[in-house]
Symmetry: C2
Subunit: 197 residues, 2 copies
DNA sequence: AAAATATATTGACTAACAGTCATTTTTGAT
DNA sequence: ATCAAAAATGACTGTTAGTCAATATATTTT
């Protein structure tokens, strides 16, 4: 039987690229630079990626997925009753991680376009996967089980996620519309408003 | 006296670039291609723009500003009393324009990153300019004059704008979270919730 | 365990491109 | 008409992306 592929070179390329992208930006990072850092040949790059931009998108997806997976994992260690509080717990967790990892935050916010973002969100959400514990199922189940009455829970959830991601980046990086610790209560307030008629 | 600079070549470069960007994407558009289309020399490009990406950002800002200016202009032709309805009027106007101009919408959504976006929003907003009729002043004045009581109107306004832009693009282009006409009532509902305690 | 086949990796090569700058053209003031 | 400042030019150079024939490694067959 064929040995399981270990993606060793592919992973080295991903991590070298992340290092260079965060250090000097995507525009100033050449593919030659990435393969040198990874100690592989130029041609190997093109076995795994179409170009620099596909690699960028894969990196953003990978790093974002990990953020949400960690948050979800942490949520399950705590017993939190209401769906409002569960959602806020996850958002709060991610804000704290990103605040401590500005390089990652800058990388995502500088390079993520809306086109790629919507695909990424769907993958994080895992809307169409039958994992009971996907972010999507957790929230939709929570909303339907609890005394939350919404005309369209799915749309509400979507709006909350979008509101959070588009405002928190600026709040952490540029203190707009307010420094993150000051902004948090307004944000959590808004989330509660959206979750109730 | 020196004749007013007419920016003729600069404008030709901007419009040629927009044409090529929307036709074949930024990655497949070369600077040589842009200057050929504009009938100017290569060097001229660098008199006006640092590189392809600065040109892209200027284009996005210009096109977005025009959208909001048109919307504001249209708003003033109507008498609309409440601030809720004014905000919804403007958003509705912009959604309608973008729905009819998918090329422009795709260009903005594919190429606008959060980093650039926050700067663009501030310029559209005109937060720090003393134009009575800037979007910012219109809303802040409206909110304070009417019976809208908000802990922090500025933050609320910011959240509304971010919520709208991040969700409408996907709704128009990909029917996510719902086709735009179906999504509109949920969005306007959310805006009203955010505007009231 | 040697040969045969399939798969992964290499890096020298080419065509395309970004960005520069010495030269030329245009403009507007005198 | 003369001149100086500003705008525009495009040939040139160094860099880079992406290709592909050649080579190395792994797997299967005999």
């Amino acid at each position: 039987m064929k040995r399981e592929k270990d993606h060793e070179k592919e992973n080295r390329l991903l991590e070298s690229a992340f290092k260079l992208f965060t250090e000097k930006g995507i525009k100033n990072t050449s593919i030659q630079g990435i393969v040198d850092e990874s100690k592989v040949a130029k041609g190997t790059f093109y076995l795994y990626f179409k170009d620099k931009y596909e690699l960028r998108d894969i990196l953003i997806e990978k790093k974002s997925k990990k953020l949400f997976a960690d948050a979800l994992n942490e949520l399950h260690k705590n017993y939190i009753q209401s769906i409002d509080d569960q959602i806020i717990f996850i958002i709060n967790y991610i804000i704290n991680i990103l605040s401590k990892n500005i390089l990652l935050l800058k990388f995502i916010s500088k390079n993520l376009s809306w086109g790629v973002y919507s695909k990424t969100v769907n993958k994080i959400y895992q809307k169409n996967e039958n994992d009971e514990n996907s972010l999507y199922n957790l929230f939709i189940k929570g909303i339907s089980e609890q005394n939350v009455k919404l005309k369209n829970p799915e749309v509400t959830l979507y709006m909350i996620l979008e509101l959070v991601s588009s405002t928190c980046f600026n709040s952490i990086l540029y203190d707009e519309p307010a420094p993150i610790e000051e902004y948090k209560p307004y944000l959590y307030d808004a989330i509660r408003k959206l979750l109730h008629e």
